[in-house]
Symmetry: C2
Subunit: 144 residues, 2 copies
């Protein structure tokens, strides 16, 4: 049991340390797109457009937070709103061409940073690490 406790303790400490740094690191690397904006824009790109409400539900954010983030992305010309013809309350959000391009640049640069950090890992370790993270996040989603 002692070994198990030690592993859990390390996992907790390291996940916490990572979380503390993540925002600042992202901001330093990509001043043009904060971690939150990046995530929202990536989701729009991925889903081929969706509603603000969907973003809020998916990322556990208040709808007012999403509303303001989307306004900011719109001011930057990265997102456009298309009113749903079937329901005039709804705005379907899409990345603009410019937004998609910026997203692609940031994604490429993030990807490169991760590749550099993980350059000396062998494939088996990478594969297992990815699985562990998926499993951990899924458990967190279930247990709060």
């Amino acid at each position: 049991m002692a070994r198990r406790d030690a592993s859990v303790e390390t996992i907790q400490q390291e996940m916490t340390a990572f979380a503390r740094r993540a925002r600042a690191t992202a901001a330093r690397m990509h001043p043009e797109l904060s971690l939150v904006s990046y995530t929202l824009l990536a989701h729009l790109d991925d889903q081929q457009g969706c509603r603000a409400t969907d973003l809020a539900a998916h990322y556990l954010l208040d709808k007012s937070t999403v509303s303001r983030q989307i306004s900011a992305l719109e001011k930057l010309g990265f997102v456009e709103r298309r009113v749903d013809p079937d329901d005039h309350r709804v705005q379907v959000l899409h990345p603009t061409a410019k937004g998609a391009q910026t997203l692609a640049n940031v994604t490429a640069s993030r990807r490169q940073a991760f590749h550099e950090r993980l350059a000396d890992w062998d494939e088996e370790d990478l594969d297992r690490f990815a699985d562990y993270l998926l499993r951990y996040n899924a458990a967190q989603a279930r247990h709060g």
Copy 2:
């Protein structure tokens, strides 16, 4: 190379997803001690006291940020300042008895949450996951 790319992509996505949620989760679980306060207080406890400058260096925070965080912890009665007799510019920071007690409570509750999330993992996986996180964070510290 495709498998390697896929793993890196997953690691990136999952680390990002985790980072986005961490603060809010911590705030929900422990309203009395934010993630940042918790971390700083834990460091003081761990180090048997240290300077504000040391905290700033260790956590890559501006000294003004640390100053305000420490002020808040002091107002809550969780931290006390002892002026260094050898250098009157320096305040050595220590958790108070109350601060240490609160820290112990939060730590216990965090530990339990992690244990629950990781309950169905076997020991070998936990051990490897802990190693991977250490290795990842060490690499991030080196490569920014």
